[in-house]
Amino acid sequence: MRSWILALSAAALYLLHQDFWFWRDARLVFGVLPIGLFYHAAYCVACTGLMWALVKFAWPDELSTGTEG
């Protein structure tokens, strides 16, 4: 169940990269950052959140069994 939620979250985040809703929007956030650039900067932060969840809840511990030096 947990791995399904993580897989769906990853798929959703991948699709959210395609932000067609800001495609032609030239607004400036804080008067300086184009909104498309701001969105993708925030997207990087969201990626960190997903990676944290993967490491926390789906870490493949079995791969390191018997291999630690």
Binding site: H17, F20, R24, H40, T48, L50, W59
Partner: protein
């Protein structure tokens, strides 16, 4: 000149790190120590070095230059897509590569493929394809180094001497320190660039009176499209997300996965990787876009004039080709630094840029490792001459390779960005099915692997030949070379080649995935005992 002196001081420090690592190697002089740092890197060096390995001239100079000419789309195309794909690949593939390396003693991906699929010469062919794809990437580093020293010295150090200095320094610390030297240098370089990237934005912003004015000027100009993505199709943007897949298939990244002391060292790297990308790419892309509103800088103004002249009606293809280098933005960050930053800071920031430019060290070491392990040792050199000779061969290869890359770099004027994307990234993305097959699919076979490698060589060579035969049309137009039922299959566009209207990476990756699947099913399965060793209990 002060700036150039600071850069040279930086190069001396980097060289010293190589010598320091060499002393460590002398204590345990074996191939594993030289090629994978004795599989002993801790979490901090592993994160900083892995990230530094991915930062090249392309990341810093290429990204700012691309953003100068194409606007904010650069960040979405290359940075945020990488922030998702690369750590995910480290999670899925990197941990498994590390585990197999520990269990079976692999040092290169080809060693793993040979063992996994019980093959010999097919592995050699994969080595050839990987090596051929890696060389352009190495050349970028030398080109970026030459361009950076030329710009920072105000033209006092010619491009060819700048490239030679960078090549010589990189060659020296790779030669002396092997993977440990390269990892330490990369970690140092990453810290340097993370620190100075933000400083560059703050200083240029402060000295130029803030970026708000520049952005407003762009928004009010005919170049307002630079703040949006209206000039590219969403499909192009979507297709580009396949490019970062190439990262895990690059041999220097696969090999670097083997250097971690424990698998847990991956955890921090996977989590923090997207933030590192944000910290490096956002300042570069932002500066590249903002430069379009800074006409008070004479060199920027000249670039914008050249761009306007290129877009004027009636301009001939010859004139456009002559104007293109003048309008190119690969040096835009350096130009801004020279204009706005005090001379000492420009030098320090230049050293930060050099840090990224010199990332070709990992590729040089990887290619040397592959040649030594996959060719020299595999065909009997290790057995006949021993391990010391194996390391000596690796070192000799470092010298030959760097010299060859330098000679090509001073003769090849092609844009940094184009060279990297069109050949190396597309090819390595097409090789990803090798990893998927080897690590996740029991039924994959050596014939499937051979089909993937052949297809990759075919499509990369095909694109290179096609682009040489058909000149680039003006932006916005396409030359259709082959169509079926009125639908364009193969076209030449201003930025390169389009297959079914998309980047070649889509056809390359989908094609190699289908080939791995179909050819594997059509050929006898690998030996049960081998499969059992890899997938026991799964």
């Amino acid at each position: 000149m002060t700036a150039a002196l600071i850069v040279f001081a930086y190069l001396a420090i980097v060289l010293y790190i190589g010598i320091f690592a060499f002393r460590k190697y002398e204590r345990k002089p074996d191939a594993e120590e030289f090629f994978v740092a004795g599989r002993s890197l801790g979490p901090a060096v592993f994160l900083l070095s892995l990230f530094g390995t991915n930062m090249t001239a392309f990341t810093i100079l290429g990204s700012a230059g691309h953003a100068f000419g194409n606007g904010i789309l650069t960040f979405g195309l290359m940075a945020s897509a990488s922030a998702f794909i690369i750590p995910l690949c480290l999670f899925l593939f990197g941990t498994r590569i590390w585990s197999l390396g520990r269990r079976f003693g692999f040092i290169t991906p080809v060693q793993m493929y040979r063992d996994r699929w019980d093959c010999g010469h097919i592995g050699t062919f994969i080595f050839v394809v990987q090596a051929a794809l890696l060389v352009p990437y190495i050349i970028i580093g030398v080109m970026g180094g030459g361009a950076t020293i030329f710009a920072i010295s105000g033209g006092a150090v010619p491009y060819w001497i700048g490239g030679a200095i960078v090549a010589l320094v990189v060659m020296s610390y790779v030669f002396l320190g092997g993977m440990r030297g390269t990892a330490f240098v990369n970690a140092f370089q990453t810290v340097l660039f993370l620190s100075f990237g933000l400083a560059a934005v703050l200083f240029i912003g402060w000295r130029s009176g803030g970026f708000a004015g520049a952005m407003e000027r762009i928004a009010a100009s005919p170049d307002a499209w630079l703040l949006t993505r209206e000039r590219i199709s969403p499909w192009y943007f979507f297709a580009y997300t396949l490019i970062p897949l190439s990262t895990i298939a690059f041999p220097h990244i696969s090999i670097f996965c083997l250097t971690a002391r424990r698998m847990n060292e991956f955890k921090r790297t996977i989590i923090l990787y997207p933030l590192c990308i944000l910290a490096i790419w956002l300042p570069c892309v932002f500066l590249g876009v903002a430069a379009n509103g800074m006409r008070e800088v004479p060199a920027i103004d000249a670039k914008l004039e050249a761009r306007a002249a290129m877009a004027a009606p009636g301009v001939t293809p010859e004139d456009r080709a002559a104007l293109r280098p003048q309008a190119a933005g690969d040096d835009v960050v350096i130009v801004l630094l020279e204009h706005y930053a005090p001379i000492w800071l420009a030098g320090l920031l230049g050293a930060g840029i050099m840090a990224a430019v010199m990332a070709s060290d990992s590729q040089i070491l990887a290619l040397s490792t592959m040649f030594t392990e996959d060719v020299f040792a595999y065909y009997g050199g290790k057995r006949r001459f021993g391990e010391r000779m194996q390391v000596a061969t690796g070192r000799a290869f470092v010298i030959v390779l760097t010299a060859a890359a330098y000679l090509i770099a001073i003769r090849a004027p092609q844009s940094i960005f184009d060279l990297a994307v069109q050949y190396a990234f597309t090819g390595y993305a097409a090789l990803v099915p090798l990893l998927v097959g080897a690590l996740f699919w029991r039924r994959s076979t050596k014939w499937g692997a051979l089909a993937v490698a052949l297809w990759t060589a075919f499509i990369v060579l095909g694109v290179a030949v096609f682009q040489n035969m058909v000149p680039a049309p003006p932006p916005g137009r396409e030359v259709v070379a082959w169509s079926v039922g009125g639908m364009p299959v193969l076209s030449r566009v201003a930025t390169g080649t389009a297959i079914f209207g998309l980047l070649p990476v889509v056809a390359a990756t989908i094609g190699s995935s289908i080939l791995m699947w179909a050819v594997s099913l059509a050929t006898p399965p690998p030996q049960a005992a081998t499969v059992e060793r890899y997938f026991a209990g799964k």
